[in-house]
């Protein structure tokens, strides 16, 4: 177990290094000038700026400097937020994204398991058909539409009640979190519902369920201990990547609901060619994803005794 964990962590470190290098190469090969601005700058001012950001050195040296400071956990100063360190941006804004992400994932996982189990139990009857239809809707409608509709619903709700029940946008309190996290988790919940449904149906025909019934176990026990527990396994497997995807993919929801998360910085940095922020957020998110996948694999071994971690 310990050896396995160490091995996976080493592999993870190599993956992060690869992500960092690939991003560095891609970033420097994209056309466009990070220092360009509407007003043309004179040669001198340009040279001053290049010096400030170390862009006057050869690319390979820049790469070396970048790797060195990355190992020390320092991603440098943002090109566009000139007085802020990339570390500060991550430290201040990632907790917001993480809060939103945790809520959305919890909502998606709990909802997905419940609805999936329900549809499997009512297979081909009305509840199943209705929920399956909603699931297809949930998977195919993009998040910016759901976010805009969710916000519009809030406006109408507040207007109907006559006083501000839930804030339309912004961040900071419980009331700010409810709708954005539901909107963010909706797509994943739909996906997990479908996964859970097929997994439940597969298990329902399994030999051990038949055995359990045959030997007369109480139905409650069969369902909880045997069917549900086994059916959850595939859901747990995709949970790791789902957490990372939700936490990093909150850009649209953050924009619509004016939430100060990291996703916004991540996307606008690419548009503005903010080299240090691109590198910082990519490496950070990359490491986050790797850690999540490893965590889920370890969790998997704990839930499913058939899996041996070696």
């Amino acid at each position: 177990m310990l050896a396995y964990t160490v091995k996976r962590l080493l592999q993870g470190a190599a993956t992060v290094w690869f992500i960092a290098t690939a991003t560095f190469v891609a970033m420097h090969s994209v056309p466009g000038d990070p220092l360009a601005n509407q007003r043309a700058t004179s040669e001198e001012i340009r040279r001053n700026l290049e010096e400030r950001y170390g862009l006057d050195r050869p690319v390979i040296e820049q790469y070396g400097i970048f790797l060195g400071s990355m190992l020390r956990g320092d991603f440098g100063i943002s090109f566009t937020q000139e007085n802020r360190r990339v570390n500060d941006i991550i430290r201040e804004n990632f907790p917001v994204s993480a809060t939103l992400g945790i809520l959305a994932v919890t909502f998606a996982a709990l909802g997905g398991i419940l609805w999936g189990a329900l549809t499997a139990l009512y297979r081909n009857r009305l509840p199943d058909l209705v929920i399956t239809f909603l699931v297809i809707l949930g998977i195919s409608v993009p998040s910016f539409v759901v976010a805009a509709l969710g916000q519009l619903a809030l406006v109408n709700l507040n207007a109907a009640v006559g006083e501000p029940l839930l804030p339309v946008a912004g961040w900071g309190t419980l009331r700010h979190m409810i709708v954005p996290s539901l909107v963010l988790g909706l797509g994943t919940m739909a996906y997990l519902t479908r996964l859970m449904r097929s997994s439940m149906l597969e298990i329902a025909d399994a030999d051990f369920i038949r055995t359990a019934r045959a030997k007369g176990l109480p139905p409650t026990r069969i369902f909880l201990k045997h069917q549900l527990r086994n059916a959850i396994l595939p859901v747990v497997t995709v949970l790791g990547p789902a957490i990372a995807a939700i936490t990093t993919g909150g850009f649209v929801v953050e924009l619509v609901f004016a939430i100060p998360g990291l996703g916004r910085y991540f996307v606008t940095a690419v548009q503005q060619l903010d080299y240090t922020v691109i590198m910082g957020t990519t490496v950070f998110y990359g490491a986050f994803l790797v850690v999540m996948v490893i965590a889920v694999d370890l969790l998997y071994g704990w839930i499913d005794p058939r899996v041996r971690l070696e």
């Binding site: 001198e44 007085n83 802020r84 809060t99 809520l103 909802g111 916000q151 946008a169 979190m177 609901f257």
Partner: protein
């Protein structure tokens, strides 16, 4: 897969559904508990209050949305509109613009501008937000910072009229040589590089704001990075700045003219560039004012909102590439394109947004000439679309160039730029049979391609830095770095030099009139439109000033009025 339906009265199913209901209840409880825990945790790390009302009469507070986070608020290095908007409320220069856009005393109570220099007498009661007086030395320190090469300020050129500024910025002179000095704490003496006709207007610009040396040094790299890392001498002071989330300005009790400031607080607890979200906030009664995009226009009309509109001062046009190997260096080809271009059609039928004006000149309609509007005193030559004449010019161009290859039109990838580019593509193909290839790029890549000359035509725009025609007039001078098509015309250069060095309004405006004529007659570019802005505002909020140059919108003189 689902061949046989489950038997209806299966005891397992019924028990399972009951179990699921219990589980569901547990899940809801877990979710609610988790949410409460996280809300508590994030309130520790600095959250905001739950609900903001657009207008609070009791505390005289207005709530607004901020489109973007200011990169930083060190005025010596600012470049963007959001920073200048906030700085315009929390800082004050020697001279400022009043509610009717006239120049009025700011920190300086009076001033004298001569051909070779200027003197400013500072008022006694001008104070920083820590109560200490604003002195002439604060201006000397700030101006030196702007031109100091180590500071790498992109807007440093705006101080070039001050003696030695350019030489210092290009490292040929030490920064102490800058032509500005504090004769006494309350007298500031400025020397010019050459005569400058609009120095009073320049001084109102954000890069000329004061910075206090001891405070600046005490903050080091952090100056302007947070609300506590700045000193304020304007009508408001920033009391809260949660990055990406919340900016709050409160009335500055040390401001010399505090009695004229009516609002106590300008609160901006929302930061988003999504106009739909902003309009939803407005509809919800959470914010007092917001800009409108095209998508929200229909709804705003339906809800009978009171729409405000104004021109923001920017002009948009299509630039040509004059490098000799480019077909667009041929005047007859440019003439042909100019003769089919119809900016009225572009604005009225294609863009179709209220507030936009068809482009007819490089000099927008809001500029002032000798006495009245510049374009009334110097009407631009009219180009009426004439397809026959255009084809004649095209024939000549074909003789001179041979076959004309498809032209590359470089453009931004934004909704309006897309509409504009597709309009030209269709227009030139339909009327002249010239094929246009669109090269859509994000802003920074478009700029790089413009600078390296990788285009035949480019959809570009220009916003004013100061309220003088020269802010547009010198763009096509052969030495101007923004002249990215490398247009070169000694006749035009001569007129720019006159406009730059003369102090006589008539002579200068005559020069701008000539520049305008040359730009059109030589078909140097195709004017497209003058941008308009649409906004909605709560009727209780009065006295907000919208400007083409300077702080926009300006809430300094705004007040609240309860409507029946």
């Amino acid at each position: 897969m689902d061949a046989q339906p489950a038997p209806r009265r299966d005891p397992v199913t019924r028990a399972a559904v009951r179990q699921l209901l219990v589980l569901g209840a547990v899940c809801v409880a877990v979710f609610a508990g988790l949410m409460a825990a996280l809300a508590w945790a994030s309130s520790i790390t600095g959250g905001g209050s739950a609900v903001h009302r657009a207008i609070d009469f009791e505390t005289r507070t207005i709530t607004l949305v901020l489109e973007d986070e200011p990169p930083q608020l060190d005025s010596t290095r600012s470049t963007d509109a959001i920073s200048f908007r906030i700085l315009g409320h929390v800082m004050e220069g020697l001279i400022r613009y009043d509610a009717s856009n006239d120049l009025v005393p700011g920190v300086a109570e009076r001033w004298e501008i001569r051909p070779e220099g200027a003197t400013f007498w500072l008022r006694e009661d001008a104070r920083w937000s820590d109560g200490r007086p604003v002195t002439a030395h604060d201006f000397v320190f700030a101006w030196r910072k702007v031109v100091d090469p180590a500071n790498a300020s992109e807007y440093a050129f705006i101080l070039y009229p001050v003696r030695h500024a350019e030489a210092i910025n290009t490292r040929t002179l030490p920064v102490e040589q800058l032509g500005v000095r504090a004769v006494s704490p309350r007298v500031l003496e400025v020397e010019f590089e050459g005569p400058v006709a609009f120095f009073d207007k320049l001084v109102a610009f954000g890069l000329y704001f004061p910075v206090r040396e001891d405070f600046y040094e005490s903050r080091g790299e952090r100056y302007g990075a947070d609300a506590v890392d700045l000193l304020y001498n304007g009508p408001f002071a920033m009391t809260r700045w949660v990055h990406g989330a919340h900016v709050r300005l409160e009335k500055n009790p040390h401001y010399w003219n505090r009695d004229t400031v009516q609002l106590n607080t300008i609160d901006m607890p929302y930061v988003t560039s999504d106009t739909t979200a902003a309009v939803n906030l407005f509809k919800d009664g959470s914010i007092a004012s917001t800009g409108l995009g095209q998508e929200q226009l229909e709804e705003a009309m339906k809800l009978r909102w009171n729409l405000g509109r104004y021109v923001d001062g920017s002009v948009f046009y299509v630039d040509f590439n004059f490098r000799p190997e480019r077909p667009t260096s041929n005047v007859h080809l440019r003439r042909a394109l100019q003769l089919v271009n119809d900016s009225a059609e572009l604005v009225n039928k294609v863009i179709a947004l209220p507030g936009y004006q068809p482009g007819v000149s490089m000099f927008p309609g809001w500029l002032t000439g000798v006495e009245g509007p510049f374009r009334h005193e110097y009407p631009p030559p009219v180009v009426t679309p004439d397809h026959d004449k255009a084809r004649e010019h095209l024939a000549i161009a074909r003789q001179e160039l041979g076959d004309i290859r498809p032209l590359v039109l470089l453009t931004d990838d934004s909704p309006i730029a897309n509409k504009q580019a597709e309009y030209y593509q269709n227009l030139f193909q339909r009327t002249l049979g010239i094929e246009i290839r669109l090269d859509k790029q994000i802003f920074k890549q478009r700029l790089e391609k413009m600078t390296s000359g990788d285009f035949d035509m480019v959809a570009a725009g220009w916003g004013p830095d100061y309220a003088d025609p020269l802010t547009y007039g010198d763009l096509y001078a052969s030495w101007n770095g923004n002249n990215r098509g490398l247009y070169e015309n000694p006749e035009l250069d001569a007129q720019v030099r006159i406009a730059q060095s003369s102090l006589d309004p008539r002579t200068r405006m005559d020069a701008f009139g000539e520049i305008q004529r040359i730009l059109i007659e030589d078909a140097v570019h195709l004017p497209a439109f003058e941008r308009g802005r649409l906004f909605v505002q709560r009727p209780e909020l009065r006295g907000v000033v919208r400007r083409t140059v300077g702080t926009d919108p300006d809430y300094t003189h705004a007040w609240l009025e309860e409507t029946p």
